[in-house]
């Protein structure tokens, strides 16, 4: 209703319409290059938008790389391997100590003081770990010769020796690549020591036999 009235007025108000037309004609004209400038701005905005799309990915990749570098431990230090090395070292020390103590027990059990004692071959420390399995195999045989009281005496000693020392992987001989194989010199030395040990064992057996014969003769 009101729109109809206004439409009628629009037609009637000739003075007003003419005045507005003249005002519109007097307005400044649009510059000819305005649209070209606008299109240039749109193009630059488009390339900026493309750049905006790419840079978050680059930033994310950089952050990921930094996190990876930060969280990866250096090659020289391996904390988890340290723990393993520590545990293995204790076991190794335990075996070595028990071996030494048992050997000393054997020597105490034997009544012949002059008889040559069977001792562990003086292999370097690094060889002990490599021969760990051999030592463990020998243990039951040695255990038969030792008494239970001797074991009871051993326990406090082992407890004292378990005072931990932090070692790196490099301190475990078995993990050293150079120790994975015996050198020719080491093989020759081992043969020589084995021969010496065998000779000493034969001498000991002879002494025992001699002693037994004397005892039998006395009886």
């Amino acid at each position: 209703m009101k729109e109809d009235i206004l439409d009628t007025l629009r037609q009637q108000d000739t003075n007003l319409r003419e005045a507005i037309h003249e005002e519109e004609k007097a307005l400044p004209h649009m510059p000819a290059d305005l649209n070209a400038r606008l299109m240039q701005r749109v193009e630059s905005g488009r390339s900026a938008r493309k750049r905006r799309i790419i840079w978050p990915w680059i930033a994310a990749a950089c952050v990921t790389a930094l996190i990876a570098v930060y969280l990866t431990p250096p090659k020289a230090v391996a904390p988890q391997q340290d723990v393993v090395a520590k545990v293995e070292l204790k076991a190794e020390e335990h075996v070595a100590n028990s071996q030494e103590s048992r050997l000393s027990d054997i020597s105490s059990v034997t009544t012949i003081e002059d008889a040559p004692q069977v001792t562990a071959a003086p292999v370097k420390h690094k060889h002990v770990a490599s021969k760990q399995s051999d030592v463990i195999d020998k243990e039951p045989l040695l255990a038969q010769e030792t008494t239970e009281t001797d074991h009871a005496e051993e326990m406090p000693i082992h407890k004292e020796e378990t005072a931990s020392t932090t070692l790196t992987e490099r301190d475990i001989p078995i993990t050293r690549p150079e120790n994975l194989k015996y050198t020719p010199e080491e093989i020759a030395l081992m043969k020589q020591q084995a021969t010496e040990a065998y000779l000493k064992w034969v001498q000991l057996e002879l002494e025992i036999s001699k002693y037994n014969l004397e005892q039998t003769a006395q009886q």
Binding site: L6, D13, N15, I20
Partner: protein
Amino acid sequence: MITESDIDLIEGLRKRHPKAQQTTLDRFGHDVFAQVVRLIPVVENAEEVYQDVFIKVFDNIQRYDPNRSSLKTWITRIAYNEAISFLRKKSAPMIYFEDYDGEALSDEEVDETFGHANKETVQLIRAALKHLPPEERALITMFYYEEMSLKDIAFVTESLPTTIASKLSRTRKKLCRIIKMLQS
């Protein structure tokens, strides 16, 4: 309301085709610039607002709803809002003629002032238009010059058609009062 060429144009704008953007500028650029410069007489400022209007049109074309208005009306709305917000933010505050409770003008007197063709009155009306606030001047221009419907004007100014009708009546009487003031 919406023509077939408009549909193609909108599709092109949505795909950000430079050709569609150029066509939009060619088709609506002059009207938009006229609308902006009507509210912002300084050409440099009008150019800045004009560019902002079309950047906004290209960026927000996805939000255009063909069921609510034609493309031209939608662009006019953006231009109107950009120009008004520019005036509010950057333009120095201006003092315009305001209605006062003086002598009431009869409808006949107003009709006579605007109706009977008279060169002198036309010049007086032009002078009077300069005393109107930008929003009211834009309203009068949209109705009398661009011959937009009340519904479209309401869409552009984010108002109601009835409110626009009331504002038009009031502005018409206000103009007449300014003319009387200028004559006296």
